[in-house]
């Protein structure tokens, strides 16, 4: 079945009415879209979990979709909300071991995702965007990021914190 924007809009409207077949098609298409969307936005090892979290959120909040409006902007808003939430949680947990794999299955899509991410990070001051890239996406430790960026470790933490806060505020405004 085709899963372009118009089809997704129609299928999601059916899913809101309880149509399981339509819903399965929507979720499968969303899963593919989310895998592409999150690849390059977080460390590769966390992508699957984040896709699952986002699908669960989509399920819990499916009533918030307006069937008269395009589907993908709604999915993108939910995906970004979960993404920023994940970044915050990861930061709070101060994980010591982050993985640095960036490349997904499709090289072109990974590049496209990276460009999109760069555009979003472009809204931040370079000192904040740089350390977020180093720690949150490339998987370096705070100490390594401090060495590479020339910022002190406390400053790296502050800039990550402030940058993530700004990203959260940008969720609806981009």
């Amino acid at each position: 079945m085709k899963t372009d924007e118009a089809s997704l809009q129609r299928l999601m409207a059916l899913a809101q009415q309880g149509d399981g077949v339509a819903y399965r098609t929507v979720l499968t298409a969303c899963q593919r879209w989310l895998l592409r969307y999150f690849s390059g936005r977080i460390v590769a090892a966390q992508v699957d979990d984040l896709v699952q979290d986002t699908l669960a959120s989509l399920h819990a909040k499916r009533a918030s979709y307006d069937p008269t409006r395009p589907f993908l902007p709604w999915l993108a808003a939910i995906a970004r909300y979960r993404w920023v939430d994940q970044l915050r949680r990861t930061y709070r947990q101060r994980e010591d071991e982050l993985h640095d794999e960036l490349v997904g299955d499709d090289h072109e899509e990974s590049i496209a995702a990276r460009i999109s991410l760069d555009r979003l990070l472009g809204y931040l001051p370079e000192r904040q965007a740089h350390v977020i890239r180093l720690v949150k996406i490339d998987g370096h430790s705070v100490a390594e990021a401090a060495l590479r960026s020339g910022q002190s470790e406390p400053l790296v933490k502050v800039n990550i914190h402030r940058g993530l806060k700004k990203l959260a505020a940008l969720i609806e405004s981009e």
């Binding site: 009415q17 979720l27 699957d48 896709v51 959120s57 909040k61 009533a63 069937p67 939910i78 909300y81």
Partner: protein, 212 residues
């Protein structure tokens, strides 16, 4: 394989849902504001000039401004329940800028005259204004917050401010139907204080209640 299983679990859990309607949230908030106004009128009484059908110009101006601010921020709140990249609902900013003319005018007049209007700042009606406005606002804010939990708001802090702003605007509107004062100082200090406090409470309380 695990993802496929998870999708099947979500499909198995599927129940029909009614799409969230911003109009429903707006009507609930307006109903709560109407209840608050009715309680204020029944308890404190309506201004005599309103009863006579000939309200003082200041009363019309402040009540009109509060309604504009309340509706503009309410529109932003209920729109936020249905997320979507690229949406914007910024009319409340202009309404807030217009409403801030009251406190700004008070400050300018006070500075120009070189005196603080003590009868308005220390008015016995001031704490009543604050208490009744905030009490009414609590009802309106609680109804809006409960309704928002059905939706998927994504900019939680901003929505917290806006819920407080909506609640404060409608709450002070309700009190204004009774309020005996007609000075710009009273509005600029006590009304603005009640709205500002309500917005602050909204910012502090609402995000944690609507997080998902």
């Amino acid at each position: 394989m695990k993802m496929k299983t998870d999708i099947e679990a979500l499909v198995a859990d599927l129940q029909p849902v009614r799409p969230v309607e911003p109009r429903g949230g707006a009507l609930l908030a307006i109903a709560a504001a109407a209840v608050a106004a009715a309680v204020v009128i029944a308890w404190q009484g309506l201004r005599p000039d309103i009863v006579a059908g000939n309200p003082h110009p200041m009363v019309m101006m402040r009540e009109g401004m509060l309604l504009v601010l309340g509706f503009a921020s309410l529109a932003a709140v209920v729109a936020s329940a249905r997320p979507g990249v690229g949406q914007s609902s910024g009319g409340w900013r202009w309404a807030l800028a217009a409403a801030s003319l009251f406190p700004l005018t008070s400050i300018v007049l006070s500075v120009a005259s070189g005196s603080v209007p003590e009868e308005d700042l220390y008015s016995v009606n001031g704490p009543w204004c604050l208490g009744i406005s905030l009490g009414s606002g609590m009802l309106i804010g609680a109804v809006l917050t409960l309704w928002l939990r059905r939706g998927a708001p994504t900019a939680l802090n901003r929505i917290g401010w806006l819920v407080g702003l909506t609640a404060g605007s409608f709450g002070t509107f309700a009190y204004g139907l009774h309020c005996v004062s007609i000075t710009v100082y009273f509005v600029g200090f006590w009304y603005a204080g009640a709205i500002g406090l309500s917005a602050l409470i909204g910012r502090l309380v609402v995000p944690r209640l609507i997080r998902w």
